[in-house]
Symmetry: D4
Subunit: 166 residues, 8 copies
């Protein structure tokens, strides 16, 4: 049970940290690589082409600007590739979003929200869970915990507003 | 090995037909549902909540405009949900794209290109293939066939240009 | 005379505070709920479906990013739903605006400006005032006060510029 | 029970026809006016300022391009004003949408989808229904009929796909 | 020789200050008004309708968001109206720009850059100069001074770079 | 009383025809030039620099795509320059609009709506009318005629709807 | 003197034909390849990596949607790469433009207008001309011919307008 | 071996500094000019028209807002012109990008990313290297160094993550 994370630059690490944390939380092994689709294309090629053999079951790729990394990764593997557009330029991440999501027919990239690294990890877990009942149960628990957290926030707000109303 | 396809309106069928065709091509069973996140929310709820029990392993949801269907589907299941933004208004599908891709942390939707139904099906197959070696091999063959098709087109163009040059 | 306010996250409270203040100013009772269309869909369903019976006459729903909350709320009630797009991502609230305003035919959401919570409250009051002459009169007074405020600002500017001209 | 519809140009009538039809379907009386915020501002002023006295309870205003009509109407009345952005230029109605929805604090306009005239009418009915139990019941029936229509389309699609599978 | 400046809110004054300064620099008399197209429409109407009689020869109107003020001003006068879109929301002034520039045929508004108040003043002077030879000469001098300023900056940069090269 | 019209390409003539017609309607003499800011920069320079001496009082410049023509014209004259963004590419004229309206401080271009040639002519007439009382009166008449036309359309619509109601 | 043209799909040929024609007009030899950054990445790699050795001096790469081809080509060569965004989706080519132009520091792609294939060829010629005086002279002649063509169109328009004026 | 850099304002120097540094790093001589397409058009004209004679082989032109400078420069020379859109307004540099990249057929400008000055310099070097084998070799070395830098960052990240895992 292993997921690879490729980022175009180490400056993307803060954006990707929630993905690392979430995968660890679910007990998923992680391979991380800093590699650039444009500066180190061969590194990307070799890392990706050998991923399945190393036991990787899904790849998360994050990049900003003309964000080619997820698509380039997808061109070298049939593993599911999850793309995270990084907001790194003056146009709010729209360049990265369009560069990742508008893939041509034949080579899909599962695109997450701009800077949506946590969801990339959760989606990777959901993929693994399609063949792992225990993981599927933990996802249900995770959802229950999220809902409880929303309820706690609601309760706190009710209390606060009740206090104001007095 | 089953994938569900939910569309917000039967008018989305032409956009989704390539997804149906591709899943059939890979021998994947399909459940199809026309249901609206807004007009028939309970139908969406029940279909989705029971999908895992019916053996569905991934859900493709397509919608245009304020495209809430994929996100609403994702809120009722931990199966992987693949969203297809449909170009159905005057803003070229940007409304559907942003409505689908910008999901908040916790509930991911794997977003495809605007009208990218074929890739939604291929991505569903890639998910299934993480636990199905045969399917994984067929994906590799599919890629090989795509590459051969590109080569054929290139050869045809070379011939055409050579003919013009005479 | 009661209006409900639903927000997707308690982090939206600062944006919504002007709505709470304005409704109080007009003597309208308020129900507030923190609930997420995606993390606690059942809570949203039950709160909304029972709203009319509890005497709620209009619902204000605010959300950012893929802002499905107002549309999901609208799918469970025929009360007027007023949507407030919250600017919470890198694209300036355009994602929330399009996710809320581009609702399909059949299920309207009355959309306000990005972060336009005060107007959501005023519009709710305008709805209530269609059947409440006293409230209608207070709206006219409110407008008069706003106009007087503009006139005061104009007078202050004239004075300031006259001072500079000396 | 009366709703007014103001359009900036008679060329907007095809976009607004669904609003007229829907209001008639619910038995709501209609006043219609062709008047321009810029070419006939006084006409707009007088029609709007006197609307409440004539028994109008909500006003639908539609315009394209620099769509000032709904905001100008809202500046002359405290009745609820529902704005319909019309797609009439080369930018897909985004100009009209932003011109209508981004109203400053104090003067709300309830904005519908681009060309969303049917929803404008339904929203007007929802406003009227807050003080009219019969109308509220008819809205519920309308929703039920919409849901049934979606179910019919789904059934037809299932049949069609079953036929193809044979 | 008089120009009027209308702003929707006194918070727009910092954006408009360069217009006031520039008009003073050219010796043009100024009338300033804070008035809102939506909150004080009658004030706008009366100020504008009487402007020509008071000797005003051009009107500068600035507003942000759903920036109706310049168009509303233009609907009450045949004097040249110059619109300044103010960047006052989360979408970078694009809402104000489209609300001002996309005026329908018949009622033009001369639109300047977002926050381009200085150019609004210069354009007003250019209008006055069509019938005022002295003003036309001063505009030429102004251009010459601007060019000299660019040349001075260029000379300073050359010196700086020469210093670095040593 | 003369206005010059410069277009970047003779293919822009259909867009500009309403400007020619409107200027003729007001009895304004016209100089027309097809010249390109990029292909014939010297022609643009000479035509523009000598315009004032030839009696031209305002210049209308229209261009699409990277629409530099109005700004280049403005750099060679202190006459008022009115820019018309032409919708000639796949982005709906937004490229031309931004290229024309976002002029830097010092060199204003009065920007009209995308394809708004008629308003360019009317605005030129409004400029001329600041020093020509007869023209000012004709503008008022023109407005009156426009308003009457709107009223006629309204009357026709009332009649049509009354017919339908029978 | 040789330029390579790579297109992601043979359906891009109509867009690229003006590039082929223009290069022929200047007597530049052409290599053409249909190859996909995603479907045939190895083909792109080998073609590009060997281009300099085959005497290619510049590469034109055209693609639509998530247009990675020009960037991928640029990652395998230090020859100048000229990118042509192709308008092939519902967002008017903005996806391709941003995917090509927003390249990260280190790997430039010289981006042309959307569908701007002719300029790609001219720019390739301009590059070759930096070391080829004869080609430089032909470029000057080409410009002269373009200017003459504009002048001819202007003359034709003058004649047409003179005819109308009679 | 000389490249010219023209900037519309000395405030653009910080954006352009990486271009100066990179050209120096490659031993390319530089001419710098501050000149405005609109304020000092003649200066731009003369500097550009004489550039080839002074031995300049490529010109980098940077500007923000309605960024006409690169196109205007390109209209006066057949040397390769490289445009750098500068992010200097409230719309994130999209105005400058479209003003530079959307050049009409006949006059190309090689457009770089928003604020992409370093790539402008590298692209200029790539042009020079088409006729300079030594420079070509240095470009290859530069790429190798960039790749090594990415590898170093990757190694550092691996170490950091290994440390965290203990």
């Amino acid at each position: 049970m292993k997921v690879a994370i490729i980022m175009g630059s180490d400056s993307d690490l803060p954006v990707l940290q929630p993905a690392l944390d979430t995968l660890k939380e679910f007990g998923v092994a992680i391979e991380v690589l800093v590699a650039s689709a444009h500066r180190t294309p061969d590194k990307v090629h070799h890392f990706t082409a050998g991923a399945a053999e190393r036991g990787v079951q899904a790849i998360i790729a994050a990049a900003g600007a003309a964000a080619h990394l997820p698509g380039v990764v997808a061109s070298y593997t049939t593993l599911p590739v999850i793309g995270v557009p990084v907001n790194s330029t003056s146009v709010g991440g729209l360049d990265a979003l369009l560069s990742i999501v508008q893939m041509p027919a034949g080579i899909p990239v599962a695109t997450m929200a701009i800077n949506g690294a946590k969801n990339a990890a959760l989606f990777a877990v959901q993929i693994l869970a399609t063949a792992n009942r225990e993981l599927a149960l933990r996802l249900v628990e995770y959802r229950t915990a999220m809902a409880a957290e929303v309820d706690r926030k609601n309760a706190a707000l009710q209390e606060k507003l009740a206090g104001q109303a007095k």
